[in-house]
């Protein structure tokens, strides 16, 4: 029963009733973990991976004495935590991310929650994680760390007030690339509402510096399906003008534009070996976390 209650918090609607981000992150991960009874990733990061011969300086607590008893040689147990995964969560907090359809999380809220949950999960696996929040520029960041207490700093940064500026994603990705020198896993959470070419350029630059990139493309379900019926005044964000229109007559054309945008972005990611995941803010978080673990497993191998 406790597991089932925990899993309910994978639903964004349910989770939006809880305001504290770190609690959200914990609930998501616990709910997620409770559903992984048969998962090959269960405890994967702290389990034994292989032996290597002891060399001076190694921690003697990791000598495998059973192997010594059989072979009279010292072997050190090598665990997966020793792969030393470095992860940066990059969260877009531009004005467009503040959109959310009625009754649902905003894209930013969803992105924050997702970022916190991923951070919690990464720390729970004893990997190092840092975070950056940006709009036109990098607004806040927290250095990378694998300490369990690091989550508090992460959440504080992730939950910072969003900016009112438009995104300049291509430019800001370039700056991020300059700041992250070591090869890392970059988890980008954004709606990518910027010039497609510039975004593609920024992503390729990250890849060019040897980073692994997972892109969570966050879209509201209304942005995907355009379900409006009545005459609507669409109020532009990020300096776009307002538009009064009959949604019925525009639906076909708008959805065509959105589909073309997503398809172009997917193609760019595929060409740059970036793992792309379209995230509908109405979807449960476990879908997203599963996608992340799949990606991480691929990175370790």
């Amino acid at each position: 029963m406790a597991d089932e209650a925990a899993r309910n918090y994978l639903d964004p609607v349910e989770l939006s009733k809880i305001s504290r981000l770190e609690i959200r992150a914990r609930l998501i991960v616990e709910g997620f973990i409770s559903g992984l009874h048969k998962s090959p990733y269960r405890g994967a990061s702290v389990e034994f991976a292989e032996h290597r011969e002891y060399v001076p300086g190694d921690d003697t607590r990791h000598i495998d004495w059973k192997v010594y008893g059989r072979s009279d040689r010292y072997y050190i147990k090598q665990y997966e935590e020793e792969t030393n995964l470095r992860t940066h969560v990059l969260l877009d907090a531009s004005e467009s991310m503040g959109f959310g359809s009625e009754g649902a999380m905003t894209k930013l809220d969803y992105g924050r929650t997702l970022a916190a949950a991923l951070s919690y999960l990464i720390l729970w696996q004893q990997d190092a994680v840092g975070a950056m929040v940006f709009d036109q520029d990098i607004r806040a960041q927290v250095p990378i760390s694998s300490s369990r207490g690091h989550l508090v700093d992460l959440v504080r940064v992730i939950a910072a007030e969003p900016g009112k500026d438009a995104t300049d994603l291509g430019e800001v990705l370039a700056r991020i690339a300059e700041r992250i020198k070591r090869k890392s896993l970059l988890i980008l959470i954004s709606d990518l509402f910027d010039d497609v070419d510039k975004v593609g350029l920024g992503l390729r630059r990250l890849r060019h510096q040897g980073h692994e990139v997972i892109l969570f493309h966050v879209m509201d379900s209304d942005e995907l399906n355009f379900p409006y019926q009545r005459m609507t005044l669409f109020e532009g964000l990020e300096e776009f003008p307002d538009l009064l229109a009959d949604p019925n007559s525009l639906r076909e054309a708008y959805i065509g534009e959105i589909e073309q945008f997503i398809e172009t972005t997917k193609r760019t990611c595929r060409n740059s070996l970036i793992d792309y995941e379209l995230v509908d803010t109405s979807k449960r978080f476990d879908v997203v976390l599963t996608r992340f673990l799949q990606r991480r497993a691929g990175t370790i191998r």
Binding site: F99, R230, M231, F234, E235, A245, S249, A253, I255, G256
Partner: protein, 731 residues
Amino acid sequence: MTWLNPGVLGFLALGSIPIIIYLINRQRFQRVPWAAMEFLLRAMRKHRRRLRLENLLLLLIRTAAVLLFVLAMAQPSLESGSIPVIGGSGRSDLFLIDRSYSMALVDTGRSTLRIATDSARERVKAFSKGDRVGLIFGGGFPETMTPTPEVVTEGGAPLVLEQLEQAEIVYEPLEVAPLLSVAADWAQAGSARDSGWNLHVYSDLQRRDWLTAEGAVDPAIREALNRLEQSGARLSLHPVGPTRPRNITVTSVFCANPLLAIDLPTTFQMTIENAGKETLAGLEAELWIDDEVQGSRRISVEAGGSTIVSFPHVFRSVGIARVRAVVRSDDLEVDNERYAVFEVRDAIEVLVADGSYDPKDGSSEADWLEAALGGDPVTTTGIRLSPYRINVIPTDRLAAEPLERYRVLVFVDVPELSSADVERIEGFLRDGGGVLFFPGERFRAADYRLRSWRGGDGWFPYEPDITVIDRERRTFYHWQIEVTEHPALHYLSETPDAGIGDVAVHGFIRPLSTEGSTVLMTLDDPARTPALLERSFGSGSTIAMTTGAGRRWSNFPISPAYVVFLHEALPYLATRDETSRNLAIGEPFRRVVPAEEYAPRVLLVRPTGDGVPVVLEERADHRSFDLRIDGQTLPGAYELRFGGAAEEDGRSDWFAVNADPREGDLTGIDPGELSESYPALKLAETRREIEVADDYGSGDLWIPLFWTVLGLLIAESALARFFGTRRARRG
């Protein structure tokens, strides 16, 4: 274009509703902060033109649907090429209603006339304030019911509506030309508005009304239509009644004997015509005399044919006989009956004055004549073979004979007449008697010139000159009938077998003058010498031959034509002064009432049973009275009751009135043929109206309008769905 509910047209403003809704929708919108505005703007830019067109198309369809729905509710019907007039802005309509008796046909529970007037009333009720309406009834002479156009007020057109409601059949045929001519006069006097008069003719469109008996174009109708065309009027024909009615008509009831007398066998013949398209069998034909049925026959009449049914009869009493021929057949009752009135006499008294009278000879000219007329007495069976009672006398007894006893005087070879005789003969003629004259061997031309011709003032029809006679019979001439329609000669002219043209004339009296007389026959000699002449004198008439009645003058006495001529001429002379008792609708009745038959009170009793007093007017001769009755409008037998000073003496006279039997031919004319016959007949509309429920049928616009509205609504739904949801389906 006419509108049954013109008031509904005010709701045309509802056509703005879709536009208003569109504008309101643009004002009543929800606000949504929108992040993906770039894509929305791009979509708008790319599809702006198509979106505008789609919106405009939907808006037009919705507006058109509302407008057409309102128009349909106003129930328009197409009747002319005129510009539609809405809200009583100047319609001018003249209704011409056929009231002829063919419109009395009852086929669907109502008469054709009622169907026509109900339909016209419905049309008038649909008019609006300010419209103008006129009404003329056809049938006989047209009757203008609205001397000036009635202007429709808020209360409608009560005068026209009431007159339509009270319209009654007249028992006369429709006279199309006078009706159209009166309508043209009326329309011109009524000065229509700019749109001109709309003429509505409600009729069963009988073929005989529009074409002559030979099927030719009627020039008078053509002229009237030309006048209407020039006035700018538009004619709408509304054929009413069934398209192929069956109808039997009793076209005549005829007595074979021109003169009726008691104990004389006679035969009544009724002619029954079937103008329909199918043979009618099992019909019952009856003959009634004085309210008693005398005979009944089962008959059948072929389509387009006729049947003559004979009923023999012998009258046993003197008086006026009322005859009614009836066929029990169909729903047009008025032509299923026909009436006739005949006078039955004791006998027709004929006085023959014979100049060569010899009671023992038996071969004189008078003997020939008596034998030809069949003046036999009543047989042992109580039957007589001739209506004539003939009295042959020598010329010298003429002075002693009371001429007033006789209906006809016949002179045969009378050599001369005294002045007293001439005076009595002329008195006889003045009172309406008839004289038949044959000259002979003893004929003294000088005497007749002097006393009877008197320079053209006497009773004798010609001024006699010399006698031309070929006793060797080597030269002869034939007669030629000059007046073929004369009652005494008509049958002979129509029947060559009777041999009037074969008579060989060897001798004749050459007339010096025939002034004031009518030459009925001539000889085929080069001079075309008159052979038979008639001269009217007073109320009577004389028919005189220039050839004697003996064999020495011609072979006429042994010719079949001799008997025929006598039996044609004598009834004519005997009844020439008599007023006809068998009249057509509208024909006046005139009769001279002798002083001895005078009655202080005379009552005319109509077939309906109501009585009207009739006044006798004394004539100038102070010996008789004029009885004048204007033309009657109802078929049937009319009785004249002569009442005494104290009480009615029961003496009656009768006359019969019948409608024109041709009206019973209900064969219709095709409107296409009408237009072909009369190019000026520019029909705005032709529509057959059988039932009022069917009144607004084929020619009406509102039914297709409703269908159009339905089609537009379906199209709007389909287009809106197609425009608005095709992407949703893909999504």
